[in-house]
């Protein structure tokens, strides 16, 4: 079974973002970029499926600018066999990404597609579900366990209140939650080998997909700054403040 895994280049999760002075967007100039953490978990799961003999091939795919090839090389250093880069400098939103990935599914015919549940830049949590709908496939979102059994996959999902397990017919779409696995680090020899693995470059036009969106960004603002308060010296003082000053007890 072929496994397709989608990755996104985003701001490194340790970086504190700044809003541009003209409020047009956040400022990403000279900011450290990395693979979205949920996508790292997706790559790890795909590679583990290959190591277990469930997957025969792992194909990584991304949509984004030329620089996003770094993240594809990372995916291949972690164990993906080859990569597809749908290259565009446009700002591509979830729906257009889902349409492009649908095009990749049509060409590649994977048995399983794994994506991160959300990207930590736009925090949308949409692409996997949209892809499932467009491809007419079942979905197991927010997965904390993935168990492929023959023509089916059992996915344990992190839901409000606990865990839910669903069984999906294959092919299926899975999106990863934090506790699905602990991603490995790429080793230097693997990073070197990844440079020689095949990477196909495509364009949105190859899939007949327009990247535009009817949602426009009006402005971006920093949230209301929360000011630190006071340090109290004792539990008594804390209880007194909560009762008499904050009046929340």
């Amino acid at each position: 079974m072929k496994v397709l895994v989608a990755v996104k280049r985003v701001i490194d999760y340790n970086v504190k973002i700044r809003v541009k002075p003209d409020h047009s967007d956040v400022d990403l100039t000279n900011v450290k970029m990395a693979m979205n953490p949920f996508c790292e978990i997706a790559v790890e799961e795909a590679v583990r499926l290959k190591e277990k003999g469930v997957a025969s091939e792992v194909v990584a795919v991304t949509v984004g600018p030329k620089a996003a090839q770094e993240q594809l090389r990372t995916a291949m250093a972690l164990g993906a066999d080859r990569a597809i880069h749908v290259q565009t400098d446009d700002k591509v939103e979830s729906l257009a990404v889902a349409k492009l990935l649908k095009g990749v599914i049509d060409e590649e015919q994977p048995g399983l597609v794994i994506l991160g549940k959300q990207a930590i830049d736009t925090d949308n949590n949409q692409t996997g579900q949209m892809l499932a709908a467009l491809a007419g496939l079942p979905q197991g979102t927010f997965a904390s366990e993935v168990d492929v059994q023959g023509e089916k996959v059992a996915v344990t999902r992190e839901i409000d209140g606990g865990l839910q397990t669903v069984e999906l017919s294959l092919p299926a779409i899975v999106t990863t939650d934090l506790r699905l696995n602990d991603p490995r680090y790429a080793k230097l020899p693997d990073i070197m080998k990844a440079k020689k693995k095949p990477l196909d470059v495509k364009t949105p036009e190859d899939y007949g997909v327009a990247t535009g969106s009817k949602v426009s960004l009006i402005k971006v603002e920093a949230p209301a700054e929360r000011k630190g308060g006071v340090k109290v010296g004792s539990v008594d003082e804390l209880v007194d403040k909560l009762k008499n000053e904050a009046k929340v007890l």
Binding site: Q126, M130, D160, T165, K214, R226
Partner: protein
């Protein structure tokens, strides 16, 4: 044009979040958005529909009561929403795991974008939503004919339940051969729901182990609080995943939030910084949590927690 709200429910009860989503729908209605209808989909949901019909501002409740909608699986629920969405200008759900699971399917099948985690209504087509873990707020305008959105329930005050909307059943039944429900393991708790509690006390890695989380129980009992956890505590196995507060867990905004042994990573702050009053208890006086806390207490939580419990 009118507005459709997908009701959240579990354990045979209407979830409290629905009243908050209806409040968001009312703001859209006041901006010119028309009537508000609610969809209750599931199996054996008539009591839930009756509860939804009482919410102020609701004109009509659609009930889709059929085994195929049990457990609100995304594939049949998405297909049902696609059938019902015609004639509506807006379809809203809470940003619950059910809403997040199904709404993008509706949006994709209608060839429109989705707006996730809306926190403010600026107009009939203009909304605010947090990005980058809440470190920026984007104002976005949608020119799609159908606006599909999930709503952060803590950002809108719940509507009251003095209404009496009509209830109509949806005859449309969709097929589902692709997915089936196997099991659910839900945490049993007598405490209030984390997302709706007036007081939340959360533990972090500083709690040391899962057993020590019991130190929070007595305080939670006295305050009627829900118990939460940081991602670090959940990853370390100290607390169950549904207790996680943060960017990728639950977003809370209680009157009082008490963070115990939590350093305050930006991903955690994203989930609680809209709380009215924040208390931080931490051994490390340099911990970033103190930068957002109204009241900070530096010290050993194993001494502070029992003392706090006895003095409440």
């Amino acid at each position: 044009m009118s507005i459709l709200v997908l009701a959240d429910h579990h354990d045979g009860q209407l979830a409290g979040t629905t009243a908050h989503v209806v409040a968001a729908a009312q703001e859209i209605a006041r901006a010119g958005g028309g009537d508000i209808d609610v969809l209750v989909a599931g199996e054996g949901v008539s009591a839930i529909a009756e509860a939804a019909a009482k919410l102020d501002g609701v004109s009509r409740v659609w009930v889709a009561d059929n085994a195929v909608y049990a457990h609100q699986l995304a594939e049949p629920l998405g297909a049902l929403l696609v059938e019902l969405a015609d004639g509506y200008s807006h379809v809203l759900s809470s940003a619950s795991t059910t809403g997040k699971n199904v709404m993008p399917r509706l949006a994709a099948l209608k060839d429109v974008s989705q707006l996730s985690d809306v926190i403010a209504v600026e107009g009939i087509d203009t909304f605010c939503r947090p990005i980058y873990a809440g470190n920026a707020i984007a104002t976005v305008k949608s020119d799609d004919a159908l606006k599909v959105m999930t709503v952060r329930s803590t950002a809108f005050d719940a509507v009251a339940a003095n209404g009496g909307a009509g209830i109509e059943s949806v005859d449309k039944v969709v097929d589902n051969t692709q997915s089936s429900f196997i099991k659910e393991e839900l945490a049993q708790s007598d405490r209030p729901e984390l997302g709706a509690a007036k007081v939340v006390i959360s533990g972090g890695r500083g709690m040391g182990n899962g057993e020590n989380f019991k130190l929070l129980d007595g305080i939670a009992d006295k305050l009627g609080a829900a118990i939460g956890a940081s991602r670090a505590a959940v990853d370390a196995g100290y607390a169950h995943n549904d207790m996680q507060v943060g960017q990728t867990g639950k977003i809370v905004a209680p009157d009082l939030y008490i963070a115990v042994g939590i350093s305050g990573a930006i991903q955690h702050l994203a989930g609680m910084k809209d709380s009215k009053v924040i208390v931080a208890i931490n051994q490390d006086e340099e911990a970033p949590i103190f930068q957002v806390a109204d009241y900070g207490l530096v010290g050993d939580l194993f001494e502070i927690l029992p003392e706090l419990e006895s003095k409440l």
